[in-house]
């Protein structure tokens, strides 16, 4: 049960992007299209799960003084592997994500989870935490990119990342005259991010109040 709670926390309450404010740089930059967001989310999940597992497996033999360089080397190796895989099998995704795939190395979520969770817990727990946090990140970027893409272009377009000729979904939600191109620019990214973070914060305050009221009733 405790494990499941950990897993769930990463999704909503401790959502790495909107709750802990980690890894915002890539979040703001790549959320122009839903395709990018899905690709980036998948890459982050893979790196996060693998790095969490490896780090938690070697946590007892790594000396405390040099743990951060060791973590970074592990994460960088994993990111390089993922980057080469993406380059080989999804070249279109590679061009549109560009420099933000190698930059996963310095994404705070991954080092943060390694430091805060994986270096203190067992392998299975760490893997679950990695999946939870990774999914939290993915949900966050997909939500942001959905809002930004639909508002700025009016079209929701999802293609197969391994073969960009194969279009899975292409629907026009808003007629072209009524789109807001602002959301395609960095300004739109910041506004979307702030609004979603504010919404999550409001939800959390609301939930806390509810829990408090319930606790009082029980007393």
């Amino acid at each position: 049960m405790n494990r499941f709670e950990n897993f769930k926390a990463g999704l909503i309450k401790d959502n790495p992007v909107f709750g802990l404010y980690l890894g915002i740089c890539s979040t703001l930059a790549i959320t122009t299209t839903v395709n990018n967001a899905i690709g980036m989310g998948a890459a982050v999940i893979m790196v996060l799960v693998l790095s969490n597992m490896i780090i938690s497996a070697i946590r007892k033999i790594v000396p405390d003084d040099i743990r951060i360089p060791v973590f970074i080397v592990i994460i960088a190796t994993l990111v390089k592997i993922i980057q080469m895989l993406i380059e080989a099998y999804a070249p279109a995704l590679n061009t549109s994500l560009g420099v933000f795939i190698p930059l996963i190395v310095v994404n705070c979520i991954i080092l943060g989870r390694a430091e805060a969770f994986a270096s203190k817990h067992g392998v299975l727990d760490s893997a679950l935490d990695g999946i939870g946090m990774g999914l939290g990140y993915t949900v966050a970027v997909i939500a942001m990119s959905f809002i930004r893409e639909v508002l700025s272009t009016g079209i929701l377009n999802i293609v197969n990342p391994f073969n960009d000729a194969q279009v899975w979904l292409n629907v026009t939600l808003i007629p072209a005259d009524y789109t807001i191109p602002l959301f395609n620019s960095p300004v739109g990214a910041f506004i979307t991010f702030a609004l979603l973070a504010a919404a999550l914060s409001a939800y959390k305050t609301h939930a806390d109040k509810k829990a408090e009221a319930k606790a009082k009733e029980v007393k």
Partner: protein
Amino acid sequence: MKFNFHVSPNLKGKQTTQQIMRDLTIGLLVIFLCACIYYGMNYGMRYVLQLFLLLACSLLTTLVCEAIYAKILKIDIKTFLKNSFGWVTAIILTMMCPISITPFALIIATIFAIVIGRLLFGGFGQNIFNPAAVGRAVIFAAFAGATTDLVTSATPTATIASNYHWLPATPEVFDSFLSEYGGFWNLFLGNYPGAIGETFTLAILVVGIFLIVRHVIDWRVPVMYLGTIIVMTAIIALVSGIESYNGIPALLWYPALHLVTGGIVFGAVFMLTDPVTNPTSAAGRVFFAMGAAILTVLLRMKANLPEGCLYSILLMNMFTPMIESAMDGNQLKIAKKVWITFACFCVLALGVSFFAGSSVEPVRELNTSSSATNGATAFEMPTIQEEVSL
């Protein structure tokens, strides 16, 4: 023994916020009436109807946004709407837009202005940025091309910025600019295309004086703002060696040109004076206005934008908390600090004017003006108006 306690503040001004806002609304509506007369006389009823349509869109959006906000926060909608004064924002925003804007763009800008610029900060009295300026900035950023087929010609602000770099140096060049818009008097009266409310310099000044006399707005802000701009542009005229025009020295006509084109008078009277985003101390307001003036001149002369008033207001709004905390405390005790800051601002203004005056190339020959730079907005005289359908 019995003590009577009164909750502070014990010293109250006679005016209520409601009265101030009512006066401000009347002032704005006077300018709106001027706009109706101008468009009615020059372009016909269709344009006047479009004016009312735009205003109605903005006002309705404001009402709906605020009602929803009050509903979510479970406040009584009627009292909230009464004390939120959203309509002032809506009217100012409408007046800052060109008439060719689509109602959709205006509605989105109003939503941004009201919801993000104002309500999310906590409603009336809590906002950091002037909400109307936020809305206008959204239109600048997002809807540059969103225009209806209601055509007006190029605004003098755009023309003078793109063709003359704000520096027509000889009487001939200045004459060729003035002749496009019917002379200096026409520019002063507001009889030329531009944003809906910002062109009527004379009417705005009259309304401004009326509002100052009624203590609705603080005289320091518009006076210091326009005064600093006049001094700075006079220095620019001296530095760049502009010639005198029909016997009037450049020292006098060049600042006047800056005042009558673009929206700085509108901004000075209706937007900079917004009591919510101003510093509260008198000294702070002076520095606020001076900083905005320096930014306006700098943006006009050196930036890509034709007009600097809007962004100078937004930027100075960010500095308001800083000015506020610097000018906090006993005003007599900090007098020395105030004068030192004042001197610093003066030096900064001097420096900016010397920089702008010496680095912008004055336009001395006429042929540069005839080769229009951007074809979309340049030189369509308002004489021929096609029958347009909405």
